[in-house]
Amino acid sequence: MLLIQLAWRNLFRNGRRTFLTCLLLTSSLVVIILMDGLILGMLGVMVGGITQTLEGEAQIYKAGFRDRFDSTLYLESPQSILNVLNQDETLLAYAPRVVVPAVIGSSYNTLGGMVYGVDPEKEAATSRLRQALIEGEYLSDKPRALLMGRLMAEKLEIGIGDRVVLTASAVDNNELVQGLFRVSGIVQFGPKELDESFVFIHIKGAQALFQLGDGLHQIALRFKDFEDANRSDLALASKIEGENIEFKGWLALQPGIGAMLEMTSYSTLIIGTVLFLFASLGVINAIFMSIYERLYELAIAKAIGTRPAFIGGLIVLEAFGLALISCSIGLPIAYCLMTYFAGSGLPLGGNIEFSGVVLGGRLYPELALHQFVQFPVYVILLTLVAAIYPALFAARITPARSLQKAL
């Protein structure tokens, strides 16, 4: 109790120094929380951008299909799989697809691209296809309707209502097949690759055109909890995976995201370490200043019988108090800033495409519990570690020498 009382009162002996040291620790805490929030927000956008745009959080397909998007590798009898998906409670939605490379021609131009046969309603619940519509109508039961990426439409010099011819080889017999469609809508996802290469037609029309019967090339999945997609013990995966059928979560589908996640967590660690290192040096400096300022007093305390451990403990406790005050000030500030920026976003100065994902004009930091539990604990621990050396110094002072030096 005496130790706590002394430490607390000592903290406020030099208010300016305590304020400045707290400011240093508080700023470090606020910066690291904001930075983590921004990184989480950016990762959320990037992961969401990749998984929700078209890829899905997981995919089911015939083994080998994704290696070259070979359209001859398709799920011939997908009904049993669809039955399993219909009964699964972890899923939010799924989208069956036919995916065939084709030549897409207008009256003015011809381009190579990828034709996606999709179920309009199921696709809308799984990907952002419906939200990506910027002009015209979304897919319906009309058999000749086609959605086209904005950049592809520009290259083919066509617009809503214009005719498009899809030319590809039939899946089973490699015979040339052609279909005439009309552009019913223009879509824009953001990433260039999607907007200049993909067209979307109704799945029934695609199955008929490419002679697939009921066959599917892939089924994109969306989970209630997107982390489920990467669980190695996911029951759904074990029910579906077979000799020729693969089930892959988004991390396996996009190993680049995994590397990016790892890289960002490392960069948070490095920036956090550097930030806290500088803060710790500031704390060490402030504590040493306070020790030198009361060297005489500490020497007298020691002379009258205060044990070295008590003196060392006092210094550590003062550092703990500093950290505690800093956290109590820093946490509400960080919370307010995070809440504000989570609502209004931080301006990025225009759209930025990063790893195939478009970050909009603003970045929205993401609040997470660990920022308000883990980071304050780090601040407290690092301050305590920073206090060890000055505490040992104070505990080891020789009364006779210090009394002489201080006078």
Binding site: L2, A303, I304, G305, R307, P308, A309, A400, L403
Partner: protein, 228 residues
């Protein structure tokens, strides 16, 4: 009378090589229970160094200090801290008190270190404050007390732990003559009434006048031991 302190062939040097100076050189003397003794000498004669050695604040290069028969020169760490806490009371020139604690808390501090139970502690603090004439001022911080009052609190704190001896290093150096005389009279009264042993290091004439015994030091050597 029993011997409280016995200094045997104490030696303490500073510097090295050609700059080596013996601040205390082969000093031996003893102090009996209830003595009011002053170590006197000019500035730089080694009297404060001698007091530090006797109080266990510094370690001798040679010789030993026996306090109640125990050699404190060999004690280190917690052992010497605990010994000082329980057996020696200190009064220094100035800034004796912990500034963030009140007079009451400063006196209580040493008893807290000793683990004295709360009730006994509180009673003893009040008793000490009364003894040094500061009843009613216990709540004041050192900055709210005059220099003389601060030194009285230091005396009360030194006595609170019920030590065998009180060591005072130039306790009147920062006081005006009237306040200094008042403080010395108080210590002299405590010595007479309670049989407390006092050992001063000083060149203050007022202390010399009141001391029963004067130990003269010059250039680190005990020149004269004069009992009145």
């Amino acid at each position: 009378m029993s011997i409280v302190i016995e200094a045997q062939n104490l030696k303490r040097c500073y510097g090295s090589g050609v700059t080596l100076v013996a601040a205390v050189n082969d000093v031996s003397f003893s102090i009996e229970q209830g003595e009011f003794t002053a170590i006197i000498g000019p500035s730089g004669s080694g009297k404060s160094t001698l007091l530090n050695l006797i109080g266990g604040l510094d370690q001798p290069d040679a010789g030993r200090v026996l306090l109640q028969g125990q050699d404190i020169a060999t004690m280190t760490g917690n052992a010497i801290s605990d010994f000082r806490r329980d057996h020696i009371g200190f009064i220094f020139q100035a800034y004796n008190l912990i500034p963030v604690l009140s007079a009451h808390e400063n006196i209580e501090y040493i008893m807290l270190l000793q683990g004295v139970p709360t009730l006994n502690r509180q009673a003893r603090v009040l008793e000490m404050l009364e003894l040094v004439g500061l009843s009613g001022l216990g709540h004041r911080r050192p900055s709210e007390l005059s220099g003389g009052q601060q030194q009285r609190v230091a005396v009360a704190r030194a006595m609170a732990s019920q030590p065998d001896i009180i060591l005072a290093d130039e306790p009147t150096a920062n006081l005006d003559s009237k306040t200094g005389a008042g403080l010395l009279d108080l210590m002299r009264d405590l010595n007479a009434a309670h049989g407390l042993t006092f050992l001063f290091s000083t060149h203050d004439q007022m202390i010399m006048e009141r001391a029963q015994r004067l130990v003269h030091i010059k250039d680190g050597i005990l020149e004269q031991d004069e009992t009145r």
